[in-house]
Amino acid sequence: MQLGRRLILQGSLAFAALAALPRAAFAAAWPKKAFGSTAAQQAMIELLGKVQTTISHQIALRVPEIAENGAVVPVTISTTLENVESISIVVEKNPRPLAATFDMPPGTLPDISCRIKMGETSDVMAVVKTDAGIFSTSKKVKVTIGGCFG
């Protein structure tokens, strides 16, 4: 009886270890559902598990006030928040609001620049996930010519 219990216990532990494995591999996969979401809130839930973020002044989001060409909008995000796990760019009024998300291993500085497309004038939100929670800041970018439909 005792032996049987021990075996079951070991078995369940092995099963738990196996179940944990694909999860770790999955974390690095492209977040298809989040990118496919057509609403910013849904994208946030798919990517980060929740919509609520803490507005933080420790995040610096640099975007142009007016983007003449929505096909190329430079975005720079840096933060003094510690233990950053990921940085994401959400453009509220884009057909697919989640533009990009960057996984930050320890040692990589939370300071990134890239260029995105914007369909129309919209708030651009920088979402920073740290071990302490999810923080964000946003800025409005006026778009004169949209960059999504060509």
């Binding site: 453009v91 533009a99 500085l109 890239c114 999504c148 439909f149």
Partner: protein, 103 residues
């Protein structure tokens, strides 16, 4: 085929600044072909990975909303001159490209 990735790195102490540019159409799937009036299918980079000496320092996940010929700049600590930086991407059609460079 020659790599269509361009990369510039700059070392300041142990902090490396990486600036990279990929040549890629980044089609959204919502654009009409001006000649045929048909939608151009989506074709975009999904994941871009940087590894320094085999250790991943950055994973960027892109949607169609990243501009054509994507540009990405970032910084990481713990770099040394002579380190090998490997950049690779994969797109939604399964195409890949990679480039190796030395810091």
């Amino acid at each position: 085929m020659a790599s269509k990735i361009k990369i510039k790195t700059k070392l300041t102490g142990d902090v490396a600044e990486v600036k990279s540019l990929m040549l890629h159409p980044m089609e959204t799937g919502a654009r009409e072909d001006p000649d045929t009036a048909e939608l151009v299918p989506a074709h975009h980079i999904t994941q871009l990975t940087f590894a320094n000496n085999g250790e991943i320092v950055m994973v960027a996940n892109f949607s169609t909303a990243v501009a054509k010929n994507p540009y990405l700049a970032f910084k990481f600590k713990g770099a040394r001159a002579g380190d090998t930086m490997m950049v690779s991407w994969v797109d939604n059609l399964g195409a890949t490209d990679e480039l190796e460079t030395t810091l």
